[in-house]
Amino acid sequence: MEKIDVRAVFSKSGRAIFISHLDLQRTMQRALKRSGLPVWYSQGFNPHIYLNFPLALSLGISSCTEFMDFSVTEEIDFEKAREKLDLAMPDGISVIKLAEPVHKNQDIGFAEYEMKFYGGSPDEMLEGLEKMMSMETIETEKHSKSKGIVKIDIRPHIEILNAEACGDHLFLTVKLPAGGSLNINANVFADAFSDVSGIEFKSICIERTKILCKNGEKFI
């Protein structure tokens, strides 16, 4: 049977940001099934829809640039198939594009996030950020499957691309390492910011806006 790889770009926002990565896989399998696309099933005793997510998204974070790979058993028109798949999606997930995959999972090196912090005064928040970025090390804890809790210094890995006080909130654009070799969760950054600045934020909104390769190219 023919097997053609397809990469879907989708967004996740609104109520859908509370779908965990594990639940997203099930959600996507069902959406693919409902879409009626000629989806490729793994061969074997218990066939199931093959799916690959190059980079997982943490719970509570929205994104306009998520990726999911699947395969089909015959040539498809990408735009027509995109429409079908988009129609099958639950609230909060939209399919932006279908294309042939170019990069591999392991090419991923960074991700960019736009973050809004509510609950402090603008000056206080900017001050807190400055304090954070002037620190030499920022030690955080990371859960690792094999090693349990490991301490990691995230300071050298944080790149602040933009910081603006916008009325009631602080708006940040942050670049963090992503992918298999080193991945820093945007929530870990936000927690660290809260700790260092001493501000108890009323709410924090984070959106992933870019996934980049190690060489800085856009992941596609």
């Binding site: 509370f18 099930r26 959406a31 693919l32 409902r34 509570g60 639950p90 709410s203």
Partner: protein, 616 residues
């Protein structure tokens, strides 16, 4: 809007997708354009409640009506509840995220006795007084339905209206009446008075209960002109043409039964004497194989589920089962959808069936002999022989299975030590049977798990007169069972917690006075009683002491044939005479043929115009 407040706490709780709605096929309407808003509450966690078929049916049915909006509500898990209380977030419905306090109706489905404290807790979390008499005009009407409503007396203090029997027609009638009376500006009391005229509607505050000196019920009498002396359950006569959802809400997180479900029958022909469902869901009604196939197809297409299950009390009794399976598998095989068949009887287990089950998962097979000896199986009218059990196991072993799970009950009426030893002997015979199979997998041993539930006598069964066995007696019999098992490596025995079973028995057969006990238990912190990590037996004991009531009186007392049962004013068509007849036969270990073979005259045929089956 609560949305923002809810979103701010969601990342602090486990499985947040349970609390925010937005799932595929959930129904969102414009609240300014609907007449009646109904908050359908399942008094347990999301993953349990979302698995419940009745809720899916009524949810879709109500939402099909343009002027009604039905939303879903579940009991928040303790982490979420704590944050909700801390942040003053009241109980809300998942579709609109509006507080349920603003709804016209709050409706509970009551599937098991051990959820009663959750009902109180949810009302409280909604910001409503838990007792019906303390709720004012501007507060929602609180209704309840489901199997436990066949004896709703322990909940009478908390609920405005009980809905008896099958809900498809009566729910709409009730909501239509409400919409019409709301427009006319009628009061809650006026609405209840009118509602009481609808068949299947029981307004508990319209009845007074009096008691004898010995604590038994003397009478339950109407105190309102519109309240009839007996309230009859509702029945859907033709299952094949009744509304069935074309789609289910598809959850994000994993739930207990995460699959499409097609109801293929209602009722059961078997008449197992311990089984309440077997009596209160009578008579048997079937769907045609065409209907089953088309409903399967539309559910699978609209949900994307990769598994569909044919649901009923005893799916192998479906008269068109073979034809249906052949037709269905043409579709499901092509779509790579697994077909699962729960509730199959041992005596209908076949090679074909096993092959079908194996295709889904090879975890093991479960059979329910229920009792260890033929005599006791005859007492409970299980109508299964040891040969049939052995035959089913032989098929399973020859098909490569190495583990079998067996369900039994302990504490059944007339049970003697030899019946307990019989459980062990049956398990041993099955172990031997495995090793007699020359083609058994090399090097693999057999594993038999014996699971014993404590028998709980239930209303509307021939055993409603029977006491539950005492804690000491159950304890002794459990020890006896363990001692009787020789192949300890191959047979694993487990049982339910007796302290849970006794509460189940008390609440199942209880009267109105238990309202005070439930209230006290909830006040002292009881909730999620069906979850072992939450169950606090000692708090229940205290609640009984405080109310001056005795658990033994409800659970461990033999009731005479002429005792007025607390549920005697509720008519499920099953006559007292029939129950007495069946009880006497049980004591003599006499069986009763199934409804297809011979009508046993239970009384239900009156609902079907004289006969349940064609020319029977």
């Amino acid at each position: 809007m609560l949305k923002e407040q809810i979103e701010n706490i969601l990342l602090k709780v486990r499985n947040p997708s349970r609390y925010i709605g937005g799932e595929l096929n959930s129904v969102v309407k414009d609240k300014s354009k609907v007449d009646v808003r109904f908050a359908f509450c399942f008094p347990d966690s999301y993953d349990v409640g979302m698995s419940h078929l009745g809720m899916k049916i009524l949810y879709s049915l109500k939402n099909k009506r343009e002027n009604f909006w039905c939303e879903r509500v579940f009991a928040p898990w303790e982490d979420m509840e704590a944050l909700m209380r801390e942040n003053n977030i009241p109980l809300y419905a998942l579709e609109s995220l509006d507080p349920v306090k603003e709804f016209d109706f709050i409706g509970f489905t009551i599937q098991y006795e051990l959820c009663y404290t959750n009902i109180l807790n949810m009302l409280d979390l909604a910001g409503l007084p838990v007792k019906a008499k303390d709720r004012t005009e501007d507060m929602p009407i609180v209704v309840a339905g489901g199997p436990c409503v066949c004896n709703p007396e322990p909940l009478a203090d908390f609920i405005d209206i009980f809905i008896l029997g099958e809900g498809e027609e009566v729910n709409l009638e009730l909501m239509d009446l409400y919409a019409e009376m709301k427009k006319r500006g009628c009061s809650k009391r006026e609405f209840l008075s009118e509602a009481a005229k609808i068949e299947g509607i029981y307004v508990p505050s319209f009845y007074d209960v009096s008691y004898n000196n010995d604590g038994t019920v003397a009478a339950v009498l109407p105190n309102h002109p519109n309240a009839s002396a007996k309230i009859r359950k509702r029945i859907i006569k033709y299952l094949d043409s009744i509304y069935y959802p074309e789609s289910f809400v598809v959850p994000y997180c994993e739930i207990v039964h995460d699959r499409a479900v097609v109801e293929v029958m209602r009722g059961c022909i078997r008449g197992c004497r311990f089984c309440q469902a077997g009596f209160i869901y009578r008579p048997l009604r079937e769907k045609s194989s065409e209907t089953i196939c088309s409903q399967t197809r539309s559910l699978c297409e609209s949900t994307g589920y990769e598994e569909v299950s044919l649901s009923s009390l005893s799916t192998s009794d479906l008269s068109s089962i073979d034809e249906t399976l052949i037709k269905l598998s043409e579709y499901t095989d092509g779509e790579k959808i697994n077909l699962s068949l729960p509730s199959m009887r041992i005596d209908r287990f076949s090679n074909e069936l096993m092959e079908r089950l194996k295709a889904i998962r090879k975890s093991g097979l479960t059979f329910a002999p229920e009792a260890g000896t033929q005599r006791l199986r005859d007492v409970i009218n299980k109508n299964i022989t040891e040969d049939e059990i052995m035959r089913a196991c032989r098929i399973a072993f020859e098909g490569g299975y190495t583990s079998v799970k067996l369900y039994f009950m302990m504490g059944l009426p007339t049970e003697k030590d030899e019946d307990i030893i019989g459980i062990a002997e049956l398990a041993e015979k099955i172990v031997d049977l495995y090793y007699q199979n020359p083609n058994r997998p090399k090097g693999r041993h057999v594993s038999i798990s014996v699971s014993c539930a404590t028998f709980v006598p239930k209303p509307f069964t021939p055993f409603e007169f029977e006491p539950q066995a005492s804690a000491e007696e159950i304890d002794r019999r459990q020890k006896l069972l363990l001692e009787s098992i020789r192949s300890k490596k191959r047979i694993n025995v487990s049982w339910h917690n007796y302290k849970v079973s006794i509460l189940e028995a008390v609440l199942a057969k209880g009267d109105r006075r238990l309202g005070e006990v439930i209230y006290e238990a909830w006040k002292s912190g009881c909730k999620f009683d069906s979850w072992s990590e939450f169950y606090r037996y000692e708090l229940w004991v205290k609640a009984f002491e405080k109310a001056g009531l005795d658990m033994d009186f409800y659970a461990h007392r033999k009731r005479s044939y002429d005792e007025v049962m607390p549920w005697q004013h509720l008519d499920y068509y099953i006559s007292r005479e029939f129950l007495i007849r069946e009880h006497k036969k049980a004591l003599n270990a006499e069986t009763t043929p199934n409804c297809r073979e011979k009508c046993s005259g239970c009384g239900i045929s009156a609902a079907m115009g004289g006969a349940c089956f064609g020319k029977n």
